[in-house]
């Protein structure tokens, strides 16, 4: 009973944190883009525009829901939920901090689920995000949506290979599929996987951008060519859910990068830090990656689709394979 309550509290805190982060990211996106373009950005709602996500949410709720003629009504309604769901499920296995100790009592580690094969679970559920996009594109009965959905699925499958192969190199080093174990082997700064797997790190980050359909790989949306891609026909809260799903997926990916390559909650030269500091360190590292997502988006132009495929299959995939082979040889040696 007590364990159930603890788990529930953890789930509420982590899920609430994820949704809040996703909301704040929509504000950060606009703020960062404004700063990079000599503008100020939203600053009218609340101090520094901090309540803007709330205003956006209220607006989403009160907008008219439009279901286009000829759309598959069931799938059209189902797709946004499917897009937002995986990110919220996968956050469960991320170990945010070490042992929680409150008033001398231990409450276990700060993660919702302790699964031995956490990384496998994360990849399996994470890949389901694509269903939201392709179902949304197909159910809309619009050529632009369909093209956007198809492109997104082709792209996500291509880059998933690189993503998993670069993670495999890390798993080989850590010798475990358990995210908690992967964090434990990186307790010291010198043991962080960024230093030991620099190539895998770079490949992983690039694949992350493609996986979350972010610039410069946002072919699912690609507004100059496809109007809005898979969410062209969506409005109101359904569009809001796609929006939320995208930012939540980014957040999860940033958390995963921190966990796999930057030692999760470990603090450089301060290995015995209390869990609160570790949690803050985790947040700081994750924020850096979240900023990277925005930074890259407002710097680089979009790829062409054939360039994207060439990069994925002819450059990233062989490099990831090579990296994995080298890692395997070095480890078994």
């Amino acid at each position: 009973m007590n364990g159930l309550v603890v788990s529930l509290v953890k789930a509420v805190v982590i899920l609430g944190g994820l949704l809040t982060t996703a909301g704040l990211m929509s504000l950060a996106e606009r703020k960062v883009s404004a700063w990079m373009q000599y503008r100020i950005g939203p600053n009218r709602v609340g101090p520094f525009g901090l309540l803007q996500p709330l205003a956006d949410g209220i607006k989403f709720i009160f907008k008219e829901e439009v279901v286009p003629n000829g759309a598959n009504r069931l799938l059209f309604r189902f797709a946004p939920a499917m897009a937002a769901l995986p990110a919220m499920l996968t956050i469960a296995v991320i170990p945010f901090a070490g042992e929680i100790v409150l008033f001398g009592k231990s409450y276990g580690k700060l993660s919702i689920a302790d699964i031995d094969v956490g990384i496998l679970y994360l990849l399996a559920i994470g890949s389901m995000g694509i269903y939201g996009i392709i179902l949304g594109g197909w159910a809309s009965n619009s050529k632009y949506s369909l093209l956007g959905g198809l492109r997104a699925s082709a792209q996500m499958i291509s880059y998933e290979l690189t993503l998993i192969l670069s993670i495999l190199a890390v798993i080989v080093l850590a010798g475990s599929l358990d995210l908690r174990r992967i964090v434990e082997v990186q307790a010291n700064v010198t043991q962080w996987h960024v230093w030991r797997q620099p190539l895998a790190f770079v490949l992983f980050v690039i694949a992350t951008f493609a996986e979350t359909n972010r610039h410069p790989f946002d072919f699912a949306e690609s507004e100059p060519e496809l109007v809005g891609g898979f969410h062209t026909e969506y409005s109101a809260l359904k569009f809001g859910l796609f929006f939320l799903g995208e930012y939540a997926a980014m957040t999860v990916m940033a958390c995963l990068t921190t966990t796999l390559f930057l030692g999760g909650p470990s603090i450089p030269f301060f290995p015995d830090a209390p869990w609160v500091l570790g949690f803050l360190a985790f947040l700081a590292k994750t924020s850096c990656f979240l900023f990277l997502f925005l930074w890259v988006r407002w710097t680089l132009p979009r790829f062409r689709f054939d360039q994207l495929m060439r990069l994925g299959w002819k450059a990233l995939l062989p490099l990831a394979l090579l990296n994995l082979v080298l890692t395997g040889v070095l480890v078994s040696w």
Binding site: V32, M36, Q37, Y38, R39, I40, W298, T299, L300
Partner: protein, 172 residues
């Protein structure tokens, strides 16, 4: 036929990453460039005596306006924005407007009324904001047009200076 010469890319350029880092460094530096945005309603545009805003009627220190409803501004107005109904008064000037309306939606802020006025009763203010919920509300009557002299002092002084220059050059 057009022959497009492709630049031969070096290895560093073909790998993308160094060039991407270069691009990222540019956008990062630009984040800290000082902004020139004006937060408009809080920071209004600066006005000068030359600013020709909406015309206003000057209220003299005795509380009356100088208008004698001669109709010169009404005639000068190229947009037919001014409507005046004249009437009598016991004051020494004998005539005053019973109605003095300016349709602000017609007004083109040209300043001809100010130039035409023989009694220095109407001046261009520095008020530029014009917004309301109906067209009717934007037809300003005398109550809305009256402004105390000190609000228009800068413009009045400027117009006087221009007029003085005109007088000296014509007299010589």
């Amino acid at each position: 036929m057009v022959i497009v010469k492709r630049k031969q890319l070096s290895l560093a350029e073909r790998v993308y990453l160094p060039e991407i880092v270069r691009g990222l460094s540019i956008t990062f530096r630009k984040m800290f460039v000082p902004r020139s945005t004006r937060q408009y309603p809080e920071e209004p545009l600066p006005t000068t005596p030359v600013t020709r805003g909406q015309p206003r009627l000057v209220v003299k220190d005795d509380g009356n306006i100088a208008c004698v409803s001669c109709g010169l501004c009404e005639a000068a107005c190229p947009a037919y924005a001014i409507t005046i109904d004249g009437g009598e008064t016991d004051r020494p000037i004998e005539r005053e407007p019973l109605r003095f309306d300016i349709d602000m939606l017609r007004c083109i802020l040209c300043g001809f009324c100010e130039e035409a006025c023989p009694k220095d009763a109407i001046f261009m203010s520095d008020e530029l904001e014009l917004a309301d919920y109906s067209r009717k509300a934007l037809v300003y009557d005398m109550a809305k047009l009256k402004r105390p002299r000190r609000d228009l002092a800068r413009r009045i002084q400027y117009v006087d200076e221009i007029n003085d220059r005109w007088k000296t050059s014509s007299s010589t």
